[in-house]
Amino acid sequence: MPRPRPRDTVLWLLAVLGTFVGATAASAAFDAATGKVVMANAAWSLPFDGRAELDGASVFAYDSNGEVLDLTAVQDRLLDDGERAIEGTGLIRLGGDISYVSVGLPSPDANAAIDALRDRRVRATLWQRPRGTRVGASLSWFTGAYDDPNASWLASVTLQPTGNVTDDGWEEWTSGPFDFAWAGRFAPAFITFTDEQYYVYYGGGSWDVEAQTYVDGLEIVDLGPAAVTPTACALPSERTDCGDEGVCHLGVCVDAALRLGAPLEDAALRADYVDRRVFEVEHFEGGRAPRARAGLVAAALAPLKEAARAVEFWPTFAAAYQLLVDGHASAPMVSYPSYANGGVCLHAGEADLLSDLDAEERLVPLVFSAGDNELGALLAPGDALVRVDGLPVREWAAAASRLISHPGDPAGRDVVTAPQIFNAALDAGAIVTFARCAGPAACATSEVEEITVDLGALTGDRLLDGGTAPLLAYSASATCDFRFRRPVEAPDVKDYAFAGSADEGGVRSLLINGVPDRYMEGGDAWFDHVTSALGDDPTLVLFDERSGAGGSIDAVDLIAAMLLADGDSYAMDFLPSFEGAEDDGAPRAAVVACSNDPNAYSCGNGFRYRIGDGGGPVASAADAKLAVLIADDVSGNDYVTRLLKERSGGATRIFGDGATWGAFGVIWSMAAHVGELMGGSMQVQDTIFVDSVDEPLTGEQRFETSTGIRPDVVVRQLQSDAVFGRDTVLEAARAWLLEVQP
């Protein structure tokens, strides 16, 4: 027997690894005798067999330049060609010069077939035949007609491939099963087709206006009664209240697929998908501590290969990626995360005026600000969120894990997630209870004014009664920046690229919300502001980075180089994973040697960044006494905070609660493999901070990811200060800066 040639071995290996095709899941609608799809069982369909089908339809359509197209332009893309069509006598050509189309579904009030589906479970299916491009398709639910400007987003379902294809290139896409109407009330408002060339376009590629995909055979099939009964619910008991297919949304049970996204339905695709995401974690993750936890992710995801329900599929991904403790890790998404907060910003604090609570019970979120709306009218700064759905806040938040996330250092979780708790309560339609004490004296329980708000009554109940829910509107949401008061005020003070400074009582305050790239919009101004604020040898500096969303290495360097003295810190080694060879020092030595070579170009995506390499001013504020205020600080702001710990000139103290995220490396977005909104993200390096040029590269490798920077002075917003408009953290920092040293 001849010995296999090496290439044969590789081909065999590839065949075994790559061409697994699961048990055929034949499309029920495909007639093998005719090679056509038959929509005989459709409760509603769009066969694209003639212009009349779209007459009167509400359509939003755009060409590749973003120019609006009218209904006629969409109808002109219909093609009467029974031979090419996989269903009926026609199809529609989408993509290319018609890059985005939202087709409104008929209103239930005007269409008996749609109306009959209100309490049914259905499946939407379509076929497409890529001819240069492909479209992604999704159904969306809104709180009103899709063209009503006051309507708010409720839910969406993204269609996914089934793995069924034809020999001439048609692909089947499905929603998977879902309950047609949100809580039996709102039918899907529209189906949207988006040309996937957008990804390439935003990657710098060109738009091929001639590329198209044929779309045909859109049908909705009635699968039986709705799986979820729209009864009243509470999030902690949603499994009991809503059953195995439902979640609690705005106080009413709705199908989980609408809120969380439908699981990948095809078993073979699902198994490959899970295996691929595990492979990415095991091989692409750069954080050393997260890499050691990759097995936890694999174990958490493995059961999803066998079976999956909407209540668990995508939420399991979200939970699994948090097990890494990689502050840059985010799971793939097929549905939008909760965004509404009704204009209310709650942040971690201490309800010190509630004298009957024990010390642990006083650590609850406090109202920092509330919008000018009916909810805001009920609340005041300093109100303490003491119960949600009758449970202590911490207990409720644990039950709401699908709506609350923090991938970074768990020591920072309470601080980072505090505002998310209110978002989650609004999303779930929870009953929230605030405790108010006017101060200055503490209040016994009998003196406390309790304010109880049924968020479900303000949202879900009204929607079910035919009303509106203004709290869910985009315009009602507020940016929460973790500050009770700001040392610098400006109209754009919450913007990411904002940097501003002010002098008061001998203290120079510098406020930032991240460390933006110089070349982004506002980047130049940010660099100028920071350089100006730290460039004239200030003596007392209050550096407020409580909202710190990271950004660029050069911006990190700008701040650090001005505040550090020569010799405080030498460099940072950004190192990709060496996949098990971390400890021998050789790969790191290779990266560092490469990085020191002026002719080097990539160094395996690793490099040594020497403090001051950015070319900005050096040590201009090295002698300043420095107070650093932290709260929600990730990535670039992790680095800034970490470097400032090395200061030897002026005294330095970090004020705050919790910890920075501990995300020490660059973030890369992962690819979307099945038309997800996002493929998630991961940190692809870890970092070693280098004290001096002669520090050895071998020996213990002190990688820092997963452990954020803790404050030197643990201080949190007190209720007793809040009711009088005082920012506890800010005042503690000021007081320390102004202390006269003995």
């Binding site: 969306s140 060109s206 091929d208």
Partner: protein, 258 residues
């Protein structure tokens, strides 16, 4: 309609019409029905393995897995991802040479390690573009454990040549006895500025015991362009930022509000 059916129908039409008075004795033209399309299955990554060290095997551009560069290391004026028949059943990246003064090069990022590594990709010429791949440059560049940055050229597997839908395809491969450390950069372009199609980029570990059974590729010094492009890719992927969170919107063009 397949070619055989088309030929038969044309023959019938020609025979039926030749020498006849069009108004007399018309015979009905019977077109043979094309064979019905058949239903089959396609795996998530087509014929590619799941365990693929390329960051974005389907070349979706939805992450940081791929870049394309024009002359120097500027953005090219034109490159596209298309879905069409390919040897791996996966989408194709089109690198249109004539539309890009100075050519266009695709760069894919892959995570490598000090293990034996097999690399392959399929390259094609657009329909009617012939099957000459002599002007193609396809390589892997990376940092090896000795601290040197080197390149490895992928070479054509002549036995792999095939034509699908009028497109001539060939597989290019390389086997390394030890992969680069960290992240490496795969590059493909055409030095003659001809349009090049790219699909099925695969990097898989070889069994450690593969040893000398493979004709391992010999690393070389990278070219100036390879160095420039790898540096440019690294520059464009160094964000120290928070993971993005998408927000829903009412129907609007995806470009709006960006």
């Amino acid at each position: 309609m397949n070619r055989l059916a088309l030929s038969l129908s044309l023959l019938i039409v020609v025979c039926a019409c030749r020498g006849r008075d069009p108004d007399v004795g018309k015979l009905p033209v019977v077109e043979p029905k094309p064979p019905a399309r058949t239903l089959t299955r396609r795996a998530l990554f087509g014929a590619m393995p799941v365990e693929n060290r390329f960051q974005d095997p389907l070349i979706t551009f939805s992450g940081t897995g791929w870049f394309a560069f024009g002359s120097g290391y500027s953005w090219p004026t034109s490159y596209r991802r298309v879905d069409q028949s390919s040897p791996t059943g996966t989408p194709v990246l089109v690198l249109p040479g004539p539309e890009n003064n100075g050519g266009v090069t695709a760069l894919g990022q892959l995570k490598t390690a000090r293990t034996p590594l097999h690399l392959e990709t399929w390259l094609g010429r657009e329909e009617g573009g012939g099957d000459d791949f002599s002007g193609v440059d396809v390589s892997l560049v990376g940092l090896f454990a000795d601290g040197e940055e080197r390149a490895v050229s992928l070479t054509i597997d002549e036995s792999s040549r095939q034509v699908l839908g009028g497109v001539a395809w060939a597989r290019f491969t390389a086997d390394l006895d030890e992969g680069p450390v960290g992240w490496a950069y795969f590059m493909a372009g055409d030095g003659n500025e001809e349009t090049l199609l790219l699909t099925g980029a695969v990097a898989v570990d070889l069994p450690a015991q593969a040893g000398a059974a493979f004709g391992f590729s010999k690393p070389r010094a990278p070219s100036a362009r390879e160095r420039e492009l790898a540096a440019a890719a690294r520059e464009r992927s160094q964000q120290l930022a928070l993971a993005p969170r998408p927000r829903p919107s009412r129907p609007k063009h995806p470009a709006a509000g960006r």
